[in-house]
């Protein structure tokens, strides 16, 4: 087990290394002159040069790369052009809000996906199944931003049930619509996955045997089929959490939530490279971390994996 864990962690660092390298090169590719952007419109050539020297931009690329990696190792993601604060600090300040949205999204994914999926598998081809499948297909096909707008229009504008975006008190109330919008897409996926894996399990020989012996359907469904089918879903939800933590930009923009995504969006408007790439890097780190955690918990549950 230990060997597997160590191997997995080793690969994680390799991937993170690759991610950092890619991020560096993208940031390096930017047209335009970062020094000039920092200095501002009216700065003199000397100021620009000195800023360039301070940022180390006059060094050869290999040297810049090494400096960059060194800075990353000490947690320095650079200074935002726009806000003049360290990128990492700015991100962490907003991370709480985004984390709430991320968690809410995963919550809705499971809260909607699992019941609907089970209901659909309960009686295949029934009205319930068809409705569930239709819901899933629509949820998959609707663009999240449009769905959000639609919800805002009908539930916040036409009928003032929910607030029209932004954040306030009570916080959770303001987050209902955004998290719901975020979760619908995943819920649709999970409904379909759960339905098909439950149907597969229910068709398996040992299930048919149990049914032939007279076991009531309900027990079959809940005690036997469901746990097996749901566990992969939980792990997928874990990975979604990592993905969402990366800054659910679209949702935050649509609903006006002051989170990491919205901040990244503002940075895009002005080409604030350190903030953009810093957010991308943090997002990737979250994704990789969650992947590793999910893999390792899989390995704990399923001994076969360890032998690879």
């Amino acid at each position: 087990m230990m060997a597997y864990l160590l191997r997995r962690l080793g690969w994680m660092f390799v991937i993170l290394f690759g991610v950092a390298t890619v991020t560096f090169f993208v940031a390096y590719m930017v047209p335009g002159d970062p020094a000039r952007m920092i200095a501002g419109p009216g700065a003199s050539a000397a100021t620009i040069d000195s800023i360039r020297h301070q940022l180390g931009l006059d060094q050869p690329i290999a040297r810049q790369y090494l400096d960059y990696m060194g800075r990353l190792a000490s947690g320095n993601l650079g200074i935002s052009f726009l806000h003049r604060v360290p990128v990492l600090t700015a991100i962490f300040q907003r991370l709480g809000t985004t984390a709430l949205i991320a968690l809410g999204g995963v919550f809705w994914e499971l809260a909607i996906g699992i019941p609907v999926g089970i209901a659909a598998a309960w009686k295949p081809k029934s009205i319930l199944d068809r409705a569930g499948t239709a819901f899933a297909l629509l949820g998959l096909s609707a663009p999240p931003f449009w769905l959000g707008l639609l919800l805002l229009y009908y539930l916040a504008f036409q009928h003032s049930i929910f607030p029209l975006g932004g954040v306030g008190h009570p916080l959770l109330w303001y987050l209902i619509l955004p998290t719901f919008t975020l979760g619908i897409g995943g819920a649709a996926w999970y409904t379909r996955m759960l339905r098909s894996s439950m149907l597969e399990i229910l068709r398996s020989p040992y299930m048919q045997m149990a049914r032939a012996k007279g076991m009531p359907s309900r027990i079959l469904l809940f005690r036997h089929a469901m746990p097996n089918a749901v566990i992969p879903l939980i792990t997928m939800a874990g990975m979604d959490l990592g993905y969402f933590l990366g800054g659910v930009l679209i949702i935050e923009v649509v609903f006006g939530i002051p989170g990491v995504g919205q901040q990244a969006w503002q940075a895009v408007q002005v080409l604030d490279i350190p903030m953009i790439m810093g957010t991308v890097l943090i997002a990737a780190v979250f994704i990789v971390l969650m992947n590793v955690i999910v893999d390792m918990s899989y390995a704990m549950f399923d001994p076969r994996i360890r032998y690879r």
Binding site: W11, V14, I15, L16, G18, V19, V22, V26, A27, M29, V30, P31, L137, L138, L140, S141, A142, P143, P144, F145, W146, L149, L150, Y153, F157, M193, S196, M236, Y243, G246, G247, L249, I250, V253, G261, A264, W265, V268, L271, I273, I276, M277, T279, V280, A283, A284, I287, V288, N291
Partner: protein, 313 residues
């Protein structure tokens, strides 16, 4: 239902269909079988109709649109300068610049479909090559390629796409390239798994022992087995890439402004939701219908061609 018996894509597959009341059985070709299966699946049939309609609109758009999508009509705005509601000369209303919404929707279909198909096509090609080469050659080639895949997959698609386009400049080409360079990983993973198991089949061993080159085995022997899955993933992939492009355009980092894209129309319409909700509702419906159609057709293709195709994340 069709997966039992000879595989559908075998060129000589014929199936006797017994007639009613003692009529002699009718031999059907592969295409008839496909068509019949489509008829039995109403949602898939509807989806196929929509996809076909979209293709027609995309190709013949300029002929079908009542007006030009770029022209702001003087009488396209109300007396106080507000967009017109649907009806009359402008069947779906006008936008804040006096442009005909229907025409813009039609041209938007071209854009979405072009970008979706091109980006997805490129992504599928890259993913196929990476997955096939990595799995067949094995060794350090496999390790490097699959780790590369892992690295690319570590980035959140939308966020990274936004960053890349911001850095390289928004244009139709850049959007296609960026989406393709991020999306290929899903195809690569699936193809990699399939090729790994195909590699173990006895006919591959036999052909290798014969002395046939690896290149020929990869493309003449293994690739044909991948085609059904590729078709399924391509179709489903178009649905995804269209959604990605729409999100990018909505955010404003997609195709540049005058070119109509549904996502962008939604963003624009968003500002006028109080007085002209149709501006954001119609493009959204168009998007949902399009993506749904491709999803339905993709699902149907999966059932028909290869029910054992693994689900892709």
């Amino acid at each position: 239902m069709l997966s039992s018996g000879p595989e559908l894509s075998d060129r000589s597959a014929v199936a006797p269909v017994s007639g009613t009341r003692g009529e002699p059985p009718v031999m059907l070709s592969r295409w008839s079988l496909l068509y019949r299966s489509l008829l039995h699946d109403p949602p898939a049939f509807a989806g196929a109709v929509v996809v076909l309609a979209l293709l027609i609109v995309a190709v013949f758009g300029p002929l079908l649109a009542p007006h030009s999508p770029y022209t702001g009509f003087g009488n396209g705005l109300s007396k106080i300068g507000a967009p017109l509601p649907p009806g009359g000369r402008f069947p779906l209303g006008t936008d804040p610049n006096g442009r005909d919404v229907l025409s813009r929707l039609i041209f938007g279909a071209r854009i979405s479909l072009t970008i979706g198909v091109a980006a997805n096509g490129l992504a599928t090609l890259i993913g196929l090559l990476v997955g096939l080469l990595a799995a067949y050659i094995g060794g350090w080639v496999d390790t490097i390629l699959m780790r590369l895949t892992d690295v690319v997959m570590a980035f959140p698609i939308l966020l990274f796409a936004i960053a890349l386009i911001a850095v390289t400049g928004p244009s139709e080409t850049n959007v296609i390239l960026v989406i393709a360079f991020l999306y290929w990983t899903y195809v690569a993973r699936v193809i990699h798994g399939m090729v790994l198991s195909l590699k173990e089949r006895e006919f591959v061993t036999a052909t290798r022992t014969l002395g046939i080159s690896g290149r020929r085995i990869m493309f003449r022997h293994i690739l044909p087995h991948l085609v059904p899955a590729l078709i399924v993933y391509f179709t489903l992939g178009v649905a995804s890439t269209i959604l990605i492009e729409a999100s990018l355009s909505y955010i404003g980092i997609g195709v540049p402004v005058p070119i109509p894209s549904w996502g962008q129309m939604i963003a624009q319409g968003q500002d006028y939701y109080q007085i002209a909700p149709w501006l954001f509702i119609f493009p959204g419906i168009a998007l949902v219908a399009t993506v749904l159609a491709f999803n339905l057709v993709g699902d149907w293709l999966r059932d028909v061609l290869d029910p054992t195709t693994p689900q892709r994340r």
